[in-house]
């Protein structure tokens, strides 16, 4: 896995203004049989992007050349359903660095963070306005500033603070993961075991 450090990103967006997008849509189960993490970008939203014969479905936003960018913007409750991390691998492998929504499912949110994709929770108003900006101008740029914990819709200038705990922020900004942290705390694990067994 690439532990790509995150700082400030300004880019255009791909909008998916639907609620409750589940991880079965992000990656259908038939693509979960791989035993490595690579190449899942091809399967991202597979059944919305391609028909049964493998032809592109032109009406789907990711197949529309007007839309591009490393920021995915989705409706409320993004990533619900199955815990499959393959969904986060697909999002990362396709090239997204940020997913913006007004609400994320818990497991998927953790999976994104563990793959150095930043989930940004915004208010319903911010999301609605951002969808409107993108609809008006597909090249609308958004700036995500992790050190300041702000997201800005550059079309309207509207800016919001977003939450992330200090530990995870440090991990993302420095390319560190949780296993690194846990392995460095082995003494605490053994102390807990000694006390409880």
């Amino acid at each position: 896995m690439k532990k790509e450090k995150f700082n400030i990103l300004t880019d255009s967006c791909i909008p998916l203004p639907l609620e409750n997008i589940d991880t079965d849509q992000i990656v259908p189960a038939r693509f979960l049989k791989a035993t490595t993490r690579e190449g899942f970008g091809d399967f991202l939203f597979r059944d919305w992007r391609f028909d049964k014969e493998g032809n592109k479905i032109e009406s789907f936003v990711m197949n529309n050349p007007k839309y591009s960018g490393r920021i995915l913007v989705a409706g409320k409750n993004f990533g619900c359903g199955s815990s499959r991390e393959h969904a986060a691998w697909a999002i990362a492998d396709y090239g997204f660095r940020v997913v913006v929504s007004s609400f994320f499912a818990d497991i998927h949110k953790n999976n994104e963070l563990n793959n150095f994709v930043l989930p940004v929770v915004v208010s319903e108003e911010f999301l609605k306005e951002l969808f409107a900006s993108i609809e008006q101008n597909p090249a609308t740029q958004v700036t995500v500033d992790l050190p300041q914990q702000t997201i800005t819709n550059n079309a309207t200038g509207k800016s919001e603070q977003f939450e992330i705990n200090g530990y995870k922020k440090h991990c993302l900004m420095n390319g560190l993961d949780d296993i690194d942290f846990l392995l460095s705390n082995k003494d605490k694990i053994e102390a807990w075991e000694a006390k409880n067994n």
């Binding site: 203004p17 639907l18 609620e19 409750n20 589940d22 079965d24 849509q25 259908p28 189960a29 038939r30 979960l32 049989k33 791989a34 035993t35 490595t36 993490r37 059944d47 049964k52 409706g75 409320k76 409750n77 619900c80 359903g81 199955s82 815990s83 499959r84 991390e85 986060a88 609400f103 994320f104 499912a105 818990d106 497991i107 998927h108 953790n110 999976n111 563990n114 793959n115 319903e124 609605k128 705990n165 200090g166 530990y167 995870k168 993961d177 949780d178 296993i179 942290f181 846990l182 392995l183 705390n185 082995k186 605490k188 694990i189 807990w192 075991e193 409880n196």
Partner: protein, 464 residues
């Protein structure tokens, strides 16, 4: 003034990371073949082993066919994934119950029935339906593969402590109403994200009256309203279920364990961040009409009309009906169906097959219906035979298959073809969940049985 959840959580805290998550000790890690290979690779790339191999139990379930398990898996990619788990378990020194092993089955059916899942434990698995095990009075939740690697390496996980929710169901459940209907009802009231960020404790008279199998069904579906997990305080029903199971404590250890388990309940003055109370009498047998499990109705009700759906959700609602081929405002009783699936980690336990048999006994499978009747484990399969349920089903024209996840998620041979309608006792009706283009109607084993013998969506109370 602690909740049941607080008590178990607090007992497992290794440390609270400054301005960050909690490092929580994990008693059991369950691994299946789909979400573990990359975690084992992670350990290999770091040149480390599993810190506590005796706390990790592995078994394949998602990919295995439900016929001819004595032969190698035909699908090459599925076979490779299962083989990878076999090899990884051997290399890392972990317990492994492969295909055809007498203990094999769906991991969330096997854990409780083997006595591996016990009250007071912390349990994780790379599978969202890990919430099932909470029914035994444990903290159990699904995790991603990176987190599986974390637990393998350190027997710990880093997690934010979720908020506490209590859902009480008071009163008595009516005829033909099961734990599945209770869960589908709660979900429709809460929506698929209504409990996100929370850990749920189920309480109230209707919950207390549920059997262990039914509690497992209820907790299994907690994730479908977004909850991190769901749990039921352990009681005599729990202890009776666990006693004598292969991995349950024995003799003096048993007495000690039960004494501790009796302390595992929320204090009377415990404070929950959110509380909901529902009435059992309001719940009838249920079905889903849409493409998420929260989109459900009572079997005698009509699909909502678009004007009752809020604006932000309307596009998803209409997309969903369009996919399912249903119309807003329509009633679904009498609608034709093509497939029936009984099984999965939701409804693959002995009680579910008893319920199915109760309705099909003396009746015949409808000619237009293909039925997949799939026990959740070999142990359940043996019990089905011991009780003669297999004979009742055979007389009605149903065949029992071999255990596995089967038609729940289209990773093995059991897939519902595009455009076909399946009444399914599984947990998800997402687009394409049971196969590309498949139409899933979630329901209880009773509703599945009524559909299987009539060929259309039918209120099971008419046949009970």
């Amino acid at each position: 003034m602690n909740t049941l959840f607080d008590k178990i959580w607090d007992a497992h805290v290794v440390q609270k990371v400054e301005d960050g998550p909690t490092q929580l000790y994990i008693d059991r890690l369950y691994c299946h073949e789909v979400t573990s290979p990359q975690a084992f690779d992670e350990l290999r790339s770091r040149g480390i082993g599993c810190l506590r191999p005796d706390k990790i139990f592995c078994m394949p379930d998602h990919n295995i066919p439900t016929k001819n398990q004595d032969k190698p898996i035909e699908d090459e990619v599925s076979r490779k994934q299962v083989d990878a788990l076999t090899k990884n378990a051997a290399q890392f020194g972990l317990s492994y119950w492969g295909m055809k092993h007498p203990n094999n089955g769906i991991i969330h059916v096997v854990g409780p029935e083997q006595g591996l899942t016990l009250p007071g434990m912390t349990i994780v698995c790379g599978d969202s339906h890990t919430s099932t095990h909470g029914a035994m009075g444990a903290i159990a939740f699904g995790i991603g593969t990176s987190e599986v690697g974390m637990v393998m390496a350190s027997q710990c996980i880093l997690q934010q402590k979720p908020k506490a929710m209590r859902i009480s169901v008071e009163g008595k459940l009516g005829k033909g109403v099961t734990a599945k209907d209770v869960a589908l009802y709660i979900m429709s009231q809460m929506t698929t994200s209504g409990a996100t960020g929370y850990f749920v404790e189920y309480a109230g008279e209707a919950i207390r009256s549920l059997s262990m199998e039914s509690r497992l069904t209820l907790c299994n579906l907690s994730i479908e309203m977004g909850a991190r997990g769901g749990m039921v305080a352990p009681d005599e029903v729990t202890f009776e279920y666990i006693k004598g199971r292969p991995y349950a404590p024995k003799g003096e250890e048993w007495e000690k364990a039960v004494a501790y388990w009796r302390t595992l309940k929320s204090d009377t003055d415990a404070v929950f961040d959110k509380e909901y109370t529902f009435r059992a009498e309001d719940i009838e047998p249920r079905i889903t009409y849409g493409t998420n499990p929260g989109m459900g109705i009572g079997i005698t009700e009509s699909i909502p009309t678009a004007d009752t759906i809020d604006e932000a959700g309307r596009a998803s609602f209409l997309k969903s009906l369009d996919y399912m081929g249903f119309t807003a405002g329509e009633k679904l009783t009498g609608h034709h169906i093509d497939y029936v699936f009984v099984g999965s980690c939701t409804n693959g336990r002995i009680e579910d097959f008893r319920a199915f048999a109760q309705i099909v006994k003396g009746r015949k499978k409808a000619d237009n219906v293909t039925a997949w009747i799939v026990p959740g484990s070999w142990s359940v399969a043996r019990q089905i035979e011991a009780e003669g349920i297999d004979k009742v089903l055979a007389e009605a024209g149903f065949e029992i298959r071999e255990p596995g996840c089967s038609a729940c998620l289209a990773m093995n041979e059991d897939k519902v073809p595009a455009g076909k309608y399946c009444v399914s006792t599984s947990n998800r009706n997402f687009e394409g969940r049971q196969g590309p283009g498949s139409h899933t109607i979630l329901a209880s084993p009773y509703v599945a049985a009524a559909a299987a013998v009539t060929g259309v969506i039918t209120d099971p109370r008419e046949l009970l």
